[in-house]
Structures are given as C-alpha cells and as structure tokens.
C-alpha cells in the first residue's frame, strides 16, 4: 500500500489534506482500514460541532470491533461524507478517496502531524 505524499497523517491513523480556504478533509488510512476489516458502521461528528486534535469525535465499527475515531486537528466540522454513512465499505475500498469521513475548518493543528514517509515508518514496526 502507498500513502499519498500530499497528505499528512496522525499517529492514530487519520489522514488530512492541505487546507483549501481553511478547510481540510479527514479520513482514515488504508493501513487502519485493513487493520479494522470490513467497516459496517461509521458514527461521524455532527456538522457544526467542534472537534479537538487528538480527541475522539466518532466511531468506526467493523465485524470484530469498535474503534474510536480521533480528529487529527481542531476546528469546526463543515461537512460529513453521507456516502460513507450510507455505505461504510467505502472506508475499505477507497480509504483515501470516496471513503473520506469529514471536513473541518481548521483552527489549530498539532505540531506532530506526520509526512507520508514518516507515517510509513510509523506503521512499519
């Protein structure tokens, strides 16, 4: 698997696009999706709600387990992916594209977000 170079990553396995007009898109990585197995339910933060970097903002349920979704940055949620709510398998089939989770107007981001190469190294262990 390859992690897109243009994205940045959290150690909790979320990815983040560079902000456009202050808004970044968030999803989980292919590594995380593979580890979860078939995702069957996603619980996303409400549009308009505030998320905080490093804190839980939703849940992902797979066949075997439920996992917390962490926000990689702080800000206000501007949009959630209704397609992935309707069809959670998008998280598995297109984690970096159609399986994106939510968009956030970034107010603050932690200094320790990873580049693609750093994330590769983080997950290689």
């Amino acid at each position: 698997m390859s992690n897109p170079q243009q994205l940045r990553y959290s150690k909790e396995h979320e990815w983040l696009t560079a902000a456009e007009d202050g808004v970044s898109t968030v999803g989980i990585t292919e590594h995380a999706a593979n580890a979860l197995g078939d995702v069957v339910f996603v619980d996303l933060p409400a549009v308009g709600s505030t998320v905080t970097a490093g804190e839980t903002c939703g849940e992902l349920e797979s066949t075997k387990s439920v996992s917390d979704l962490y926000s990689p940055v702080s800000g206000e949620v501007t949009e959630v992916n209704e397609d992935v709510v309707a069809d959670p398998s998008l998280v598995n089939s297109a984690p970096f594209e159609g399986g994106w989770l939510f968009k956030v107007r970034v107010t603050d981001e932690p200094a320790d977000l990873l580049t693609a190469d750093e994330y590769d190294a983080h997950t290689a262990g």
Binding site: N34, G37, D38, V40, F41, D43, E61, T63, K64, S65, V66, S89, N92
Partner: protein, 372 residues
C-alpha cells in the same frame, strides 16, 4: 518453543503467501481473514469456503472400555453412537459446569476421536485422562497428529466429489468415514460450524498443503475461497451455534445454556456431574434461568460480548456474541436474558451500546437456516 510463542499450523506459510491477516487464537497463530471477511462469509453461504482448523484438539480414546469411559466422562450416551457416526456432546465438572463442548466420532467399536476446542484441549485431555482411571481404555493426545481442513458451503459436495471415490452421498450429517482425498488419506466427516452443508477433513500434517492446494484447484470454478476465523464466527453466530467462552462456560450447566438435551440421564452408567445436572434440570424446569435468545438490531450499531441487555431501565440480560450479520444485513447478537423477556417479539428490549440504548428485536434462534 516458549509458551508465549504462538503455535503455527502446517499451513502457516501458505496462509502468509495468500496475504492472510493472522490472529492469535488460543495460543495459535491462525488466519483471521484473507481479504474481506464479509465476502468470505457470503462465499460459504452461496458457494464454498476452505478453512484451516488445525488448532482444534483431537484426542483419541481406544480400548475395550473406550465407550464405557466416554459414557462416564461425558454427558452423552457414547456407547449408543454407531460406528462411523458422530455426536455433539459436552464434558462437565462434577458440579455440572461445562468444561467444553465436543464432537465425538466413533471410528470403530473400540476407537473414538474426541474433538475439543483449541482453548480447552488441554483441560479436556487432562479430564479424560483422570477419568480413565479404572477403565481398560487409553486416552491419547493426538493434537499434533492431525491437520484439519474444512470445506463448507453448498458447492462443497461437488468439490469434494471431484477429489475422492468415497461415498459422499451415503455420508450423512454428523457421520465420518476413512477415505482418500486427492491421494491423501483422510478421515472425511460431514460436520461443520457454519450452518451450511460441508466437510471436515482430518489428515496428517505433512499432507495438509497438498490437500489445501488440491481443494483450491478443484474449487476454483465453483467459487471456493480461503476463509478465516472471522467469518467462521459470523457464520456460526447466524446459525445459532454456541461458542465456548461466549455462550458456554464453567459457570453454566448445559441446562442453563438451553442445551439440556445433550445430557442423557437414561444411559446405563453413572457419569461425572450426574447429580448436579439432575438438580440443574429440575431447577431449570421449576424456575427458568436466563434464556439464550437472538437479538436483531433495528439500528446499525453492533452489540458486543458483555454488553448489557436492558428493558424498562433494568438490566435483563447480557450479550454473549454479537456481530454485523452479512446475511441479514443488520447487527445480530446472542444474549442470555431473563425468561420474562425471552419470548420472540417481546417489546421494549434494547442493548446498552456504550451508553446508548439501541432497540433490538427478540427472535428465536437460529437467525439463519439453510434450505435443504
């Protein structure tokens, strides 16, 4: 090998070459899934799936008093099992608590193979060995003598038939016969844990790879896929089959688990647990314990083992197994609930999913029954 080192089956390298996600299961490193566990599940329901179950624990009991020993050690009537047939049964403690659920194959007049869950194999071996005292019978640890491959699903008879001359049409559910599959000597059993027609093939470990490859090739056109333990769990859950550690434990008697039918009080000999089980049977009749029921979600959040079942603000039961059901397209669970709430269609039952009370429908088990 240290005790913390996971055990690997004879098919380990093959699983890795297939890209399996491995998981620790009862000290064994086993395939959890190869790709999508939902696709694997659906393949078994609609076509066929191939499993490595070599972690299961085989124990051979032989000798003139082999049947008598098993009648004494287990709750079932083993001397009543015909040669070539198998029986689902349990081994209990003297206090009636379930040590394990088992399948026992009668291979001959004086030879039986007991198949225990991997997690309990040592316990079962120890108990049988201890209970064999005074019987003219030998209990042999054959865990390393067998690899176990299972072919499950509606296409499995056709796939297996292309590799063996054995009389599969004459092989009934819960029967087993020695034969040759793809040139490999095998005990061919028509058993499984998926709710589908299928076979379990006990072979020498050195033949496992050869047999796996032959089955893969024979099943190619029939849509057979390799399947991991993840889909095995959802398949057995849909079929309403209990899993030791979830629905069964030493804290429960077979009567508490709704499986009192496996206890045969009418057999000739005394057996370990008899007195306690007779009391448990009376107790269950007089004052029904919690009942094992099925729950089907109205929403999409998945109940997990240990979650509370609630009604009217009270905890009325506990989830033992839960998963998204690929066949129903909804989350399902098995749960022990108070008898007052156990009737199918009981209103107002919910599962406490991390603080949120999600409505669930009470249904009779199983969730899924194959069309014969």
């Amino acid at each position: 090998m240290s005790s913390t080192e996971p055990r690997r089956t004879a098919l380990d390298a093959l699983h890795r070459s297939l890209g399996a996600t491995m998981t620790d299961f009862a000290g064994w490193d086993m395939p959890l899934r190869y790709g999508s566990e939902r696709d694997e599940h659906n393949a078994v329901r609609n076509r066929a799936g191939l499993f490595d179950l070599s972690h299961m624990g085989e124990i051979t009991v032989t000798g003139p008093q082999a049947a008598a020993l098993l009648d004494h050690a287990l709750v079932g009537n083993m001397s009543g099992v015909k040669e070539g047939r198998a029986r689902y049964t349990m081994i209990c403690r003297a206090d009636g608590g379930i040590l394990d659920d088992l399948i026992v194959y009668r291979l001959g007049g004086t030879e039986f193979m007991v198949v225990a869950n991997a997690s309990n194999a040592q316990t079962v071996l120890d108990a049988l060995t201890e209970r064999a005292a005074g019987f003219d019978a030998e209990v042999r640890d054959d865990r390393d003598a067998y690899a176990l491959l299972a072919v499950q699903g509606p296409e499995s008879p056709a796939i297996l038939a292309s590799l063996t001359d054995a009389d599969l049409d004459g092989l009934k559910y819960y029967a087993g016969l020695p034969g040759t599959v793809a040139g490999v000597p095998a005990l061919i059993a028509r058993t499984g844990y998926t709710g589908e027609d299928g076979f379990e093939l006990f072979v020498k470990p050195e033949h496992a790879v050869e047999l796996w490859q032959a089955l893969t090739k024979a099943g190619e056109e029939k849509g057979l896929v390799p399947c991991g333990l993840s889909c095995r769990d959802t398949l057995r859950l849909e079929a309403g089959m209990p899993l030791y550690g979830n629905e069964l434990s030493t804290e429960l008697t077979p009567f508490d688990a709704g499986l009192g039918r496996v206890v045969k009080f009418d057999k000739e000999s005394d057996f370990v647990g008899r007195a306690a089980l007779a009391e448990a049977a009376e107790r269950a009749a007089a004052q029904p314990p919690r009942v094992l029921v099925g729950l089907v979600a109205e929403g999409r959040r998945v109940p997990r083992s240990g979650y509370a079942v609630v009604a009217g603000g009270e905890v009325i039961g506990r989830v033992t197994s839960g998963a998204p059901s690929p066949t129903l397209g909804k989350p399902i669970a098995m749960a022990y609930v108070d008898a007052a709430h156990a009737a199918p269609g009981t209103e107002g039952v919910a599962v406490d999913i991390r603080g949120s009370h999600e409505p669930y429908e009470v249904v009779a088990l199983p969730f899924y029954k194959r069309q014969k």
